[in-house]
């Protein structure tokens, strides 16, 4: 099935998309492609914020294609690259993989992840707890007044 898809659109299987973190240049190139859409190597070279050799960018694009993050087609003897995931899709995947990695690990790493989540949620609860405490104080005063 993966081979059929590869033959059809000339790109690696979607499922085999690289799961590791991206390097700095890879990230910059992906940002360009997410903002510009379909681009040639020359377009990316011109859009990047720093001056880089054409071959460096070409190698990076080729690496991203092999990692499954980009698709490509030939137009006028040059490759046109396009991102295979939108930026939110990619971020969601990375977050999911991070969590799955922790959950697949030993019990201490799972506990660590969950306690970090709970801590983060707990921090958001602080204003609510303070508000509830104020309501309780007000109620106590009201009851004290009514009682005596």
């Amino acid at each position: 099935m993966g081979m059929l898809r590869f033959l059809k659109d000339g790109s690696p299987d979607n499922r085999s998309a690289h799961r590791g973190p991206l390097g700095r240049l890879e990230n910059e190139v992906m940002e360009v492609l997410w903002s510009r859409g379909d681009s040639r190597v020359q377009d990316v070279v011109e859009t990047l914020n720093r001056r880089l050799a054409y071959t460096t960018v070409m190698t990076t694009l080729d690496r991203l294609f092999k990692k499954g993050l980009l698709g490509r087609r030939k137009e006028d003897r040059a490759f046109v690259y396009s991102p295979r995931f939108t930026q939110p899709e990619w971020q969601r995947r990375r977050a999911g993989e991070l969590v799955a990695g922790f959950l697949a690990g030993p019990q201490p790493s799972r506990d660590l992840l969950l306690s970090c989540f709970l801590e983060a949620v707990g921090e958001q609860d602080a204003p609510l707890l303070e508000e509830l405490a104020q309501k309780i104080r007000a109620k106590r005063k009201e009851l004290s007044r009514a009682g005596g």
């Binding site: 709970l118 801590e119 949620v121 707990g122 609860d125 609510l128 707890l129 509830l132 405490a133 309501k135 309780i136 109620k139 106590r140 009851l143």
Partner: protein, 332 residues
């Protein structure tokens, strides 16, 4: 009795259970919105029982059909010497029924193991003590830990786990109110209800729709324990509300399946506190002593009626043969 005779019986039992559970479960699914609306107009304890009945009803009725009708009629009428192949429908439904039970038992085993492991660890590091003042005293396991732990752990012999941080933070009034809350969970066998909810097989492997119902049940169980601890006294309600906030400020306790945690992991905390602050407006809450025996009498009468009904039905000459014919159709 040879193996194929027993295998057919087992297949029939699982298939009958699966079909009855699926049929009744779909009816229960359709009734969930109505049940929740009705429950919201009832006292929390009664509301919890209603939702529990809706969730467990299909499985209980399935078991009733299997043990009261299928097995007796099969043993009564099926000749042991016959060799009959099981049809595709029966085999498929039987396998699905078996799978549903395997999944349920897996859930229960994991939950029991998790709770036991946690309680075991607490026993290793904790010391047995009795906590509470004049209002409520309870045996507990005090744990030297700075967490927000105040929970009733275990099903048949629940242990009250309390951390040093909670013991140091709560005033005597707050601790009394918190202990009354936990005692109400104990008296209502809420952890046993949690176990039954885990054990109830899914309807057509759909767990999602019943999750909402189980969540509502957990909410009503907490509300009922709050009401019973407050006992209609605004000062006790206030002590309980402030205990809830104090414990919640310490952080969140570990979430375990068969545990009644005082703050329920912080879920629904706002609603619980708001309810407690309105105690004087709502008037005295129903005390468990008022509703408990009534419910037990009702449950006893219902169980006795079912037993009498089944016994009378089995005496009628046409009932068991009709059930047997139905089973025969199912097997083919």
């Amino acid at each position: 009795m040879d193996a194929s005779y027993l295998l057919r019986l087992a297949g029939l039992c699982f298939a009958s259970f699966f079909l009855v559970n699926a049929f009744c479960g779909l009816i229960a699914l359709a009734c969930i919105p109505l049940a929740i609306r009705t429950a919201e107009r009832m006292e929390p304890r009664a509301a919890g029982r209603l939702l529990l009945a809706v969730r467990l009803g299909p499985a209980l009725f399935g078991l009733f059909v299997v043990f009261a009708l299928c097995i007796p009629s099969y043993l009564w009428f099926e000749p042991q010497a016959t060799h009959e192949d099981m049809g595709l429908l029966c085999a498929g439904a039987g396998l699905l029924g078996l799978l549903a039970w395997v999944l349920s038992f897996t859930r229960v085993v994991r939950a029991v193991a998790g709770s036991s492991r946690y309680a075991g660890r607490c026993r290793c590091v904790g010391r047995a003590t009795t906590i509470g003042g004049t209002g409520a005293r309870m045996p507990a396991l005090a744990i030297e830990h700075p967490s927000a732990l105040l929970a009733l752990c275990g099903v048949f012999r629940p242990t009250l786990l309390v951390s040093r941080a909670v013991l140091e933070t709560l005033s005597p009034d707050q601790m009394d109110a918190a202990l009354c809350h936990e005692r109400a969970h104990w008296a209502a066998h809420d952890n046993l209800a949690r176990l039954l909810l885990l054990l109830a097989p899914d309807v057509l492997f759909l767990r999602g729709p019943f999750r909402a119902l189980e969540g509502r049940w957990a909410r009503f169980a907490e509300w009922a324990a709050d009401d019973e601890a407050a006992a209609g006294d605004p000062f006790r309600a206030l002590a309980l509300a402030s205990a809830l906030v104090c414990v919640a400020k310490l952080g969140r306790p570990p979430v375990l399946a068969l545990t009644s945690s005082f703050t329920s992991g912080g879920l629904d905390l706002e609603a619980r506190v708001e309810r407690l602050l309105r105690v004087e407006q709502r008037g005295p809450a129903a005390h468990p002593a008022d509703s408990g025996p009534r419910f037990r009498v009702f449950a006893g009468v219902a169980a006795l009626s079912c037993a009498v009904l089944v016994f009378s039905a089995s005496l009628l000459p046409s009932v068991m043969p009709s059930i047997y014919r139905l089973l025969e159709d199912l097997v083919r």
